[in-house]
């Protein structure tokens, strides 16, 4: 069982027998008042989203999901294909279910996939991933302190804002929780 204080973005809970993921979460509390846990929930089966506010004292069941290690094989149209690394069984997921994770899927990368009643439902990414920059406008020398940024395209097609000194061909560390640039990786 989870308590309200355990709620956080990415947590999977079960409500009336169906699995949900928290796609957004904020903690709100008037100084002397009761804490409110405002959540955006996505039904992992239907994909439908809604807002719900929980209070301290609320309890939640853990979503009854089965986690399997899978390798990303390829994308075709809106379908993403993964293979179980021990049984070699292949499954397909719709782009909608893959969600933001598509920004981090490179060929043969290993991810954990959550299954509900034998159907793949969600991809669990590591907190940090490393991706190569395939397209970047030329950098501006010397300007490292002002926090100015420029857009670059990563090998997955994902576009993000990075500091001006980043160049094409570099490998960057990204935070999958925020979708943002963290640092350059060491050569």
């Amino acid at each position: 069982m989870y308590e309200a204080a355990d709620l956080r973005k990415g947590l999977k809970i079960q409500i009336e027998g169906e699995p949900y993921i928290l796609t957004d979460f904020s903690f709100v509390k008037p100084g002397k008042g009761q804490a409110l846990y405002k959540c955006k929930l996505k039904n992992l089966i239907t994909g439908s989203q809604f807002d719900r506010t929980f209070r301290s004292g609320d309890r939640f069941e853990q979503a009854d999901l089965d986690e399997q290690e899978m390798e990303f094989l390829y994308q075709e149209g809106t379908q993403y294909c993964f293979m179980n690394t021990s049984s070699y069984e292949q499954v397909h997921m719709e782009e909608e279910q893959v969600g933001d994770a598509k920004n981090y899927l490179t060929d043969n990368v290993k991810v954990s996939v959550s299954f509900f009643q034998a159907k793949p439902m969600a991809i669990n990414l590591p907190t940090f991933v490393e991706l190569k920059v395939v397209k970047a406008a030329p950098g501006v020398k010397g300007d490292t302190a002002t926090g100015a940024t420029k857009p670059v395209t990563m090998e997955t097609g994902y576009e993000i804002q990075v500091p001006l000194f980043i160049e094409e061909g570099e490998t960057l560390r990204l935070d999958t929780r925020t979708g943002q640039y963290v640092s350059r990786t060491k050569e």
């Binding site: 204080a5 904020s26 903690f27 709100v28 509390k29 008037p30 100084g31 002397k32 008042g33 009761q34 804490a35 409110l36 506010t53 209070r55 301290s56 004292g57 926090g147 560390r173 963290v182 640092s183």
Partner: protein, 307 residues
């Protein structure tokens, strides 16, 4: 690596924070307030409905210094202030830290109206010290800090923005939800705003209004959508205070929460506290306001997750 880069990127806000604290201290010293320090580890607490303490082997970590500040008033100190850490279990969000920095100040022989004046002058003084002006930008909006600021009763604000009278209907749950979701978001963003005269059921340490005891002399200050400060005309009647503490503890018991022993020494010296007013202002949020920060982590050196 990431930790160091993050800390390095906060230098500008940390400088602003230090200058804010210096300005706050100067403001109170110039007005004859004595800065005091009191223990962080304590054997007992003021019972609160929705504040959960950290309990250690040595005692409770202080959730607010008010339990000590009123002792100064009882001992004859007229003007005292304190800036220091407070601890509240489970509070973590864009505007919340389980360990945060609070400013509290108290005035003997004044009521909550004096606190609203203090707030106006304090924010103006800090803004002048930091930027040489009273107009600031916060998250895309211009805020004019020059006094006077609007003072709106909670009843007026709820009738206008939530459509019900919180003095007529005693419903703390609905009150707190509507306050955060309907009333505060609807307040004017061009200047800070005071809400005053909270329902007595939302103010267990505040004096009830003589003209209408359903309301208590409690104020809250909001600026740019941030809840900045909370103050009262202090309740100084030990019998009434004991009774309200017992009601609070009864509520905690009903909800299955831990119930702590009453602070007997506090209740004993309360009889010696003259009519007074005291207020708590969140320093982290004040710095957020001046730094234009949308997340509290931007204005503190290390967040709990960095440790």
């Amino acid at each position: 690596m990431e930790d160091l880069a993050r800390l390095a990127s906060k230098r500008k806000n940390l400088v602003l924070r230090e200058r804010t604290l210096r300005s706050v201290r100067r403001f109170f010293r110039e007005r004859g307030f004595l800065e005091v320090a009191t223990p962080l580890v304590n054997p007992c607490l003021i019972p609160e409905d929705h504040i959960h303490p950290f309990e250690t082997e040595a005692g409770f970590l202080l959730p607010s210094p008010e339990i000590h500040m009123k002792r100064f008033l009882a001992a004859g100190y007229d003007r005292v202030f304190q800036v220091g850490p407070c601890f509240r279990k489970g509070e973590r969000g864009e505007q919340h830290l389980p360990e945060f920095t609070m400013l509290e100040w108290y005035r003997a022989r004044e009521d909550y109206r004096a606190l609203t004046d203090d707030c106006e002058l304090l924010l103006r003084a800090v803004s002048q010290d930091l930027f040489g002006r009273t107009g600031i930008e916060y998250r895309g909006a211009s805020i004019d800090l020059s006094p006077p600021w609007e003072r709106m009763t909670v009843r007026e604000a709820f009738l206008e923005h939530a459509g019900w009278d919180p003095l007529e209907d005693e419903d703390p749950t609905k009150f707190e939800q509507d306050l955060t979701e309907r009333v505060v978001p609807a307040l004017d963003r061009g200047k800070p705003v005071f809400l005053l005269d909270f329902p007595a059921y939302e103010a267990s340490l505040a004096r009830k209004k003589a003209a209408d005891p359903r309301a208590a002399e409690r104020i809250e200050l909001f600026a740019g959508g941030l809840e900045l400060a909370n103050g009262f005309s202090e309740l100084t009647d030990p019998e009434e205070q004991r009774q309200r503490f017992e009601e609070t503890n009864e509520g905690r018991r009903t909800r299955g929460e831990a119930v702590y022993p009453l602070p007997d020494k506090f209740l004993a010296f309360l009889a010696d506290v003259p009519p007074s007013a005291g207020i708590a202002l969140g320093i982290d949020r004040l710095v957020m306001l001046f730094a234009g920060a949308s997340h509290v982590d931007e204005v503190i050196a290390l967040a709990p997750e960095d440790l």
